[in-house]
């Protein structure tokens, strides 16, 4: 009988010992392989990133080139559209990520469903709050699980970027700055100078605007103030009227009122 595989109790010991060494060796080998793969992957990432950056404009502008780029990504098993938002590579560099689109859909959803309440102007903070509620926590966890950018909460920057991706649709979504506060506008019509001035004033006065305020603070004629306010009230539905104010008709802008 061979010594190493000979009978006797010690053979069992030998057997387990050699198994253990094999396992150790295999671990070391696969670790090395993984490390190799990682470095390959990261150099690949860098290459692809620099490629995406260099050809960014062409990828965005030239459909044929974009198609080839996508095919190249597909052939190496990478989906350029399955884009994360942070820590992500090409999707972000090329400026097209599903994440941004998905968020875009939610922005449209919120803007449209609250439009009749706020006349198509929603405050940035409010929008973020509603969308965060809409997304819920579970969904975010799921995202983390498959390795997408963590964090979870939506920032103002995300909204701004996402609205940019909506631009080609011509839906007229825009971020506007009124009196130092950001609003997302979803009404197609242009917000003219006068309306912007009224909204800014409404913000400063907790929502209430009167003809008199515009005359005294902006030097408008009474006519101009009345026309602008009546337009907002009747045509755009952006404000409510209060006929019981002791000083005459008062106009209230819901999106500028503070609700507890």
């Amino acid at each position: 009988m061979h010594r190493l595989t000979g009978p006797g109790l010690s053979a069992f010991d030998r057997h387990t010992q050699s198994q253990r060494s094999y396992a150790l060796l295999s671990n070391q080998l696969s670790e090395k392989q993984i490390k190799n793969l990682h470095s390959q992957l990261s150099s690949f990432r860098t290459a692809l990133t620099s490629f995406a950056v260099t050809h960014r404009d062409r990828i965005q502008r030239d459909p044929a080139f974009r198609h080839q780029f996508q095919q190249m990504c597909a052939s190496i098993g990478v989906d350029p559209l399955a884009g994360p938002r942070r820590g992500g590579w090409w999707a972000e560099l090329v400026g097209m990520g599903d994440w941004a689109y998905e968020l875009g859909v939610q922005i449209v959803d919120v803007c449209v469903s609250t439009r009749e309440r706020n006349g198509g102007m929603i405050e940035m903070g409010e929008l973020i709050r509603v969308i965060s509620k809409l997304r819920g926590l579970d969904k975010e966890k799921e995202k983390d699980k498959i390795g997408f950018g963590g964090g979870g909460e939506i920032t103002e920057e995300d909204i701004v970027r996402s609205i940019k991706t909506l631009e080609p649709l011509g839906a007229g979504y825009q971020v506007v700055d009124i009196g130092g506060r950001k609003f997302v506008r979803s009404v197609v019509k242009e917000l003219d100078q006068d309306q912007a001035a009224i909204l800014a004033l409404a913000r400063a006065q907790s929502g209430r605007v009167m003809e008199e305020d515009l005359v005294s603070q902006h030097g408008w004629t009474r006519e101009r103030a009345r026309v602008a306010l009546e337009n907002m009230l009747l045509r755009d539905g952006m404000c409510w009227v209060d006929a019981q104010d002791p000083n005459g008709s008062a106009y209230w802008v819901p999106s500028a009122m503070r609700w507890d």
Binding site: E116, R117, S206, R208, L233, L234, G237, W240, V241, D242, A243, Q244, D245, A250, W252, M257, R258, W259, D260
Partner: protein, 191 residues
């Protein structure tokens, strides 16, 4: 000024929109008007259910000192629901079957359906069953003012009639003429 909810002296929680001054004016923009009216209807029915109020009249908005003061007025911001707007709201409610003009053929007072007549019919039949009064003849008074208070205590006769009529359609009740007026008899029946 922040708009906040408010609990009335009868313990009803008014929504924050009730402290917004323009809420008390009839809005000229049709979209805005329908939103505001929707809010008013919800508020009126909620309050009626809370206080078991069955009637709402245009007069309630005209003169203070009635059950509806807490809702139709907001002293804190010095606003009150204008009678013309209330009459528009009542009209909308009647169109949506959330109220019925009572008495009929006028538009100044309504009977509120904070429970639909169909729901009242079920409640009525359940009460008759659980108190063991099936098959016996009851006067309307027995129902509206029973010795043991029930969810039907104080139900207005016109509403009671509607509920009985609904039950009669499925043979679960029958109006009977008795010596001093009318009575009703309930049967087991199935829905």
């Amino acid at each position: 000024m922040a708009l906040s909810t408010h609990t009335t002296s009868t313990g009803y929680l008014l929504p924050s929109i009730h402290s917004a001054p323009p809420f008390f004016t009839q809005q000229p923009n049709p979209t805005t008007l329908s939103i505001a009216t929707e809010q008013w209807i919800r508020l009126i029915l909620g309050y009626a259910r809370h206080r078991k109020l069955f009637f709402l009249r245009v007069e309630d908005a005209e003169t203070p000192g009635n059950d509806w003061d807490e809702v139709l007025r907001n002293e804190r911001i010095n606003r009150k629901l204008l009678p013309t707007y209330l009459s528009y709201i009542l009209d909308t409610m009647v169109k949506k079957n959330l109220a019925a003009y009572e008495p009929p053929k006028q538009t100044r007072a309504v009977l509120l359906h904070w429970r639909l007549p169909e729901e009242w019919a079920e409640a009525l039949h359940e009460w008759a069953t659980s108190t063991g009064q099936l098959n016996s003849i009851l006067t309307f008074y027995d129902i509206t003012d029973p010795p043991l208070e029930s969810s039907l205590t104080g139900i207005p006769i016109p509403l009671l009639r509607k509920a009985i009529a609904i039950l009669a359609k499925t043979n679960r009740a029958q109006i009977i003429t008795i010596a001093d007026g009318e009575g009703v008899r309930f049967f087991t029946g199935n829905k």
